[in-house]
């Protein structure tokens, strides 16, 4: 369990410092484990809904609020560029980092750009809206779609 927690923290620290997902080898080196052991940990973290993995079973697609792949939701904080999984997670990145940030996204209908500064007190006053099609009880049925 201790190694699992260390791996989870290593994943999040890698995202937070670089804006990118770590590889299995990155995580293994960080926690002093071997690669097969880390692969098993990733599967367990997926089962706990801490991560979402790609089809290869080891590349990190999501470590919410961070996205391991480019998305339309980009967040810049302290000069580091991050991708968020969704609009909720775009606000989640400055909340997790405890740093001011700017959220860059778009209106899904008009494609009008959104460039919204977010401080530790929250976003600048804005009349934009958030909309989610999927009810809360079904979010994890297909979390990538959600």
């Amino acid at each position: 369990m201790e190694l699992e927690l260390a791996a989870k923290l290593a994943i999040y620290e890698h995202f937070a410092t670089s804006g990118h997902r770590p590889s299995v080898a990155d995580i293994a080196a960080r926690v002093g484990a071997d690669v097969p052991e880390v692969r098993e940990i990733l599967v367990r973290l997926r089962a706990q809904r801490v991560l979402v993995l790609e089809a290869d079973g080891e590349s990190i697609r999501m470590a919410p609020p961070f996205s391991g792949v480019p998305t339309q939701h980009r967040v810049i904080a302290a000069g580091v560029s991050y991708y968020a999984n969704c609009a909720w997670d775009a606000f989640g990145i400055p909340a997790a980092l405890h740093r001011p940030a700017t959220v860059h996204s778009r209106c899904e209908q008009s494609f009008e750009p959104l460039d919204l500064p977010v401080s530790d007190q929250g976003p600048r006053a804005s009349d934009w809206l958030f909309h989610c099609v999927v009810p809360a009880a079904q979010w994890w049925d297909d979390i990538v779609f959600t």
Binding site: Y12, V50, W88, F91, A95, A96, W128, H131, C132, W139
Partner: protein, 86 residues
């Protein structure tokens, strides 16, 4: 989970995509949701809100009804069993 410029744009998008219109969330409400879910995410003791806590958070923000209930079976498909905590 998407941003929209206005309610009119949400309605247009739902109509074009064939999706139902769901409850709309303001930016200040979304920030509170993000804080509740993620403010401890980089810390060892971090944990995702569980269903009872989710209900409390949603209620505090005025987000009420079956749509926000993580164990609701109002939308079919056995969805109530997934306990959709993010």
């Amino acid at each position: 989970m998407l941003f929209f410029r206005s309610e009119e744009r949400v309605r247009e998008w739902c109509s074009a995509m064939g999706y139902p219109l769901r409850p709309l969330v303001r930016m200040d409400q979304l920030w509170e949701l993000a804080r509740e879910w993620y403010s401890t995410r980089l810390q060892p003791e971090s944990r995702r809100p569980q269903p009872a806590e989710m209900r409390r958070i949603f209620a505090r923000l005025g987000l009420a009804g079956d749509f926000w209930d993580p164990q609701s079976d109002a939308f079919g498909g056995g969805a109530g069993k997934t306990e959709g905590s993010r």
